[in-house]
């Protein structure tokens, strides 16, 4: 049959299904089916040629809405398509419909859809299972031969069982999740329903395989559909004894016995196995899945897409709460609350940490069993409408996906009391610090700094969008950095390389394994409702920064940690009255956060630390550290205590300081505020402050969130970051000479004073330029004087070197050889800066600055000067010999700087005796 014919037939069956109140579809149209047929007809015949496939409504498609059966995504049409769908289309499949489901896949009966429950196709009094009940029902009703569902805890295998169709959940990572709206990221698997094993396996094979857009896919090729065979010879099937409890429903037990007998008859070997931690799988699921869901569903905030609920006059929090409160159904809200609770401050270890450890144990049970490679059987039975089995507040998940293992449920069509049963297989300058006699003297200041630097990459941390500064708003955005439903992060190798270089340059220990973590909070500049950062397992720890403190001499400040994370977007408050505007071009830009130990003892030390830190990072090529463009930002923590007291005082945090000078000023202001309170016997509260550079005062900031309860947990979208020790060693070897080493070398190799070496190495470009001038033959100290003078002035003005080192060396040689005076050379330098190709001698000649050594000319200028100043001549002859300088100056003036000063002195001595 032609694709057009298939489309027509499928449409007719969909109409019939609607007429029977199945309520299995949420979106379909004959027009879309016909368009699919035309597309397929233009393709070479593929493995799924003209096969109509229904798609669960949590898998994004561009030609129909993707609502996840929720009000919060009602009418949302994705601007990109899921990898699985794209692969199916490429294989010739036609997307027939989007199917009803439990809202956000939370449920096991498909009764929790915002658009009504799905009926079982054979018995309206029963549920089709869930959460993928719509897909299962469509296949069971014969509307489509295959459909996609998604599994988190049995959401395909269970409805497959309930509806008597084939349901296959592949191993986690075999099918890309890019475009699957996440429920529990470490559990979700796109899975397949089919009328037959053959149909299901073909569909699974077509969409399987590694996907660069999903970093949790396994690096394996696509699956190959198995060759159909009529027996199970050579297959060992494990029967976990924990799955067959004494109180197993007798009908299910009897059906299982028949199935086991059938499997034996077909040649399978059935073996008894034990999975001792199985009883803990469901409680583990009840912690892990809601925790991940609470974070995954934070992106639905009514800011960037989807319907928005807003009360008149309401602020951003009112918008969030109304949109989410009205947009999510009760089951989803309950799971979000549970997930938020188990991750909240004080409960992480009691719940999430414990569940993760149990998950590892359950996986180990399976690994041991897999050594013997049996398949596994899971018995299951049907539920009536609103009948939920023994979970605490809903239906139990199936027993497989906590381990990320494959499972399948082949319907064996055993009918028990008219129902199908299934077999499941599966961071002192003068006057600073103590001031004579004042109250500051009796308080010690303790400061620690958190510095964010933007890593010098071309693209963002987790997507390929450019990091260009100053582009039109929201033009460098994509599904990932917009936090669109189903989009996933893809970490940038260069960001990791630069952060590693920075860590090594700061003397940190770089850890071979570190972990990305989600930092959860709501803010309109944070698209996903969480920031991907690192928490308890950062990239690097335990570094140091050494520098000269004006109060304490050379000191070392400890670096607690350096980790990588993504930046937030930018908020604009002054453009639209009563509104805040959001530009997400910056969202996702790679940052390194560098946290110091509280080792700084004055605002001046804080400034010196920052100057040194910046030098190191620029030398290492990690960041341009431009504060003007926001690529280096500082948050400062400050407290006071009595000298000698080992206990730290209550700290205040001063945020978002945009210059090193302002860091120092802000800390001075806050120190005085704290000392004033302490001296008056007032309590010092933990506060977050903002510095007003205009007034020089700090003021209290309203809290970013009611409490800083960020509910960190490992990001399930990102496997651990593993760096080979050899690679880390390569990064260490590739580091350039750092500022401290270069200063020491310049002092020793060129005999420079410490001051000169410090100035010359303040910028790597300046140091490079200086050494190039010396290499071109200029005496070291002469070169230093030039570079620290005119060259540095132009460098500070323009950021570059308009007179290259070779030309400066030529100019200095002209001075040395007496061709131009030093004064004239400065004028020539300014000209050279304006005329990049001009030769220094040529410029001097053009300007008439070549020194005149001709004896006749010099004599003429000297005689004119002496005639013009008889009084001075008389005083000179009276013994005021120092007036020779006056006469030289006058001659130089008269000669317009061209006279050779040495020659002038010689002639003066002759004339004045």
């Amino acid at each position: 049959m032609s694709a057009a014919g298939v489309a027509a037939d499928t449409g007719a069956r969909l109409i019939a299904a609607e007429a029977s109140s199945l309520n299995a579809t949420l979106h379909w149209s004959q027009a879309l089916l016909d368009a699919e047929a035309r597309r397929v007809d233009a393709l070479p015949v593929g493995p799924l040629h003209a096969m109509p496939i229904a798609i669960k409504d949590n898998i994004v498609t561009t030609d129909a809405p993707t609502t996840c059966a929720s009000r919060i995504l009602e009418g949302y049409v994705s601007p990109y398509e899921a990898t699985a769908v794209t692969r199916l289309r490429s294989a010739g499949a036609m997307i027939a419909a989007k199917t009803n489901m439990d809202e956000f896949a939370m449920g096991s009966s498909t009764e929790h859809s915002a658009f009504g429950r799905v009926q079982h196709p054979l018995d309206p009094s029963r549920v089709p299972g869930g959460s993928s009940g719509g897909s299962a029902a469509l296949v069971a009703a014969g509307v489509v031969p295959a459909a996609l569902g998604s599994e988190t805890g049995g959401s395909v295998r269970q409805p497959a069982s309930f509806c008597g169709v084939v349901g296959v959940k592949p191993s986690y990572g075999r099918v890309s999740r890019f475009g699957l709206v996440a429920f529990g990221s470490s559990l979700d698997c796109i899975s397949v329903f089919g009328r037959t094993v053959d149909d299901a396996s073909k569909v699974l094979a077509a969409m399987s395989g590694h996907d660069p857009l999903d970093r949790t896919t396994l690096d394996r090729p696509a699956m190959t559909p198995p060759t159909p065979r009529g027996d199970l010879a050579g297959m060992r099937i494990g029967l976990p004894r924990e799955y067959f409890p004494a109180d197993l429903h007798p009908g299910v037990a009897a059906a299982m016995e028949r199935t086991k007998a059938a499997a034996r008859d077909l040649g399978a070997e059935l073996v008894d196995v034990s999975l001792p931690n199985s009883p803990y799988a469901v409680p583990t699921y009840y912690i892990v899945a809601p925790a991940e869901a609470a974070a995954n569903l934070a992106r639905f905030d009514g800011v960037r897409y989807g319907p928005r609920k807003v009360e008149p006059g309401g602020d951003i929090r009112a918008l969030y709460q109304a949109t989410r409160g009205q947009g999510f159904g009760p089951e989803v809200q309950r799971r979000i609350l549970v997930g938020t609770y188990v991750l909240s401050a004080g409960y992480y270890d009691a719940y999430y940490g414990k569940a993760q450890r149990m998950r590892a144990r359950i996986a180990e049970d399976f690994r041991r069993r897999e050594d013997r490679r049996p398949g596994r059987h899971v018995p299951g039975r049907h539920l009536r409408v609103r009948h939920q089995p023994g979970g605490p507040a809903g239906a139990q998940p199936a027993r497989g996906p906590k381990r990320g293992l494959a499972g399948g449920r082949a319907a064996h069509r055993a009918i028990v009391r008219g129902r199908a049963h299934a077999l499941g297989c599966r961071g002192d300058r003068a006057g600073d610090g103590p001031r004579g006699g004042g109250p500051l003297m009796s308080w010690e200041t303790v400061i620690g700094l958190e510095v964010h630097v933007q890593l010098r990459t071309r693209t963002k941390m987790f997507c390929g969008c450019r990091t260009t500064f100053g582009d039109p708003p929201n033009t460098n955005v994509c599904p990932t950095c917009l936090g669109l439903p189903g989009a996933l992060p893809m970490p940038n190798a260069e960001a990791i390389r630069l952060a590693t270089r920075g860590a090594i340059a700061l003397g940190c220990t770089v850890h071979p394994t570190s972990v990305f973590a989600r930092k959860n909070y709501f803010y309109p500049d944070l698209p996903k409702g969480y920031q991907i950062s690192q928490f308890d397992r950062p990239l690097a720890t335990a570094g140091r920064v050494a520098f000269e403190s004006s109060e304490r001499g050379r000191i070392e400040v400890g670096i607690t940690r350096l980790h990588v994370e993504e930046d937030a977007g930018k908020l604009v408050h002054d453009r639209f009255p009563g509104k805040t505007a959001i530009d997400l071009n910056r969202a996702g830009t790679p940052l390194a956060e560098i946290v110091s130990e509280p080792d700084l003892r004055s605002p001046a030390e804080a400034r010196a630390y920052l100057t040194t830190l910046r030098q190191i990072l620029v030398y290492a090529g990690v960041s341009d550290c431009s504060m003007e463009q926001g690529s280096l930002r500082v948050d400062a923590n400050i407290s006071i205590r009595r000298p000698g007291d080992p206990k730290l005082g209550t700290k205040a945090e001063v945020k978002n300081l945009n210059s090193f000078a302002n860091v120092e000023r802000a800390l001075e202001a806050e120190r005085e505020r704290q000392v004033g309170r302490a001296e008056r016997g007032e309590r010092i509260a933990q506060v977050t402050l903002l510095f007003n550079a205009g007034t020089g005062q700090v003021r209290e900031l309203r809290s970013k969130e009611e409490s800083h309860d960020y509910r960190y947990f490992p990001d399930p979208d990102l496997p651990p970051l593993v760096l080979a020790p050899e690679w880390i060693a390569e990064q260490r070897a590739a580091l350039p000479e750092l500022p401290e080493a270069r200063r020491a070398r310049l002092e020793i190799a060129y005999g420079l004073p410490a001051y000169d070496a410090r100035v010359l190495t303040s910028e790597i470009a300046l140091a490079e330029y200086y050494e190039s001038v010396v290499s071109a033959g200029v005496e070291a100290k002469t070169a230093a004087n030039w570079v620290m003078g005119d060259v540095m002035t132009t460098f500070n003005e323009s950021g570059g070197f308009p007179v290259e080192a070779r030309r400066l060396a030529s100019l200095v040689t002209l001075v040395r050889d007496g061709v131009v005076s030093h004064q004239a050379a400065k004028r020539v330098y300014a000209e050279l800066a304006q005329h990049p190709s001009e030769d220094p001698k040529g410029a001097a000649e053009r300007l008439g600055l070549v020194q005149v050594s001709d004896q006749g000319a010099l004599v003429g200028w000297v005689e004119e000067v002496l005639l013009a100043h008889p009084a001075e001549v008389a005083r000179f002859k009276g013994g005021e010999t120092k007036l020779v300088g006056f006469f030289v100056g006058q001659v130089m003036k008269r000669s317009q700087g061209k006279a050779d000063p040495k020659g002038v002195q010689r002639v003066l001595q002759e004339k004045l005796g």
Binding site: Y76, P79, S186, P212, R215, T217, D219, Y280, P283, I287, D301, G302, V303, R304, D315, I316, L319, Q321, G325, Q326, F328, P330, R334, I336, L337, Y341, V342, Q356, R357, A360, A363, P392, G404, T457, R458, T459, G464, R466, P473, N474, C478, M490, P491, A493, V515, P524, R537, H573, R575, F576, T580, A581, L690, R702, K704, E706, R711, P714, P716, P719
Partner: protein, 106 residues
């Protein structure tokens, strides 16, 4: 461990969910049932050795044992439709939300 009304309200604020007063008793009850249920993990005897999951310790993730990094090359998944067509409120290239005093501080 028992969850009270204030705790549920605190969690709801963290999750930015408006909870109606009439729903609160039911939520308190449901959350307590769930917490009681998962408390059975407290009774699990400790086991020597870590799990087999990637990273070990508190970290268990299925799938690859280490993350694959992407080259720093511009090119992202294109949008079929621009942000303006997705957003509830959009002007002059910006997403718009009601102003919140605290936001001006950052």
């Amino acid at each position: 461990m028992s969850i009270g009304r204030d705790e549920v309200l605190h969690v709801a604020r963290l999750a930015e969910l408006a909870v109606k007063d009439e729903d609160l008793p039911r939520l308190v009850d449901q959350l307590n049932r769930i917490v009681d249920y998962v408390a059975q993990l407290d009774r699990v005897p400790p086991e020597n050795g870590g799990g087999s999951g990637s990273g070990g310790g508190d970290l268990f993730l299925p799938g690859p044992r280490q993350v694959e990094l992407r080259e720093d090359r511009p090119g992202s998944v294109p949008l079929d439709r621009p942000p303006a067509e997705l957003a509830p409120e959009f002007a002059d290239g910006f997403f718009l939300v009601p102003r919140h005093g605290a936001m001006e501080d950052l």
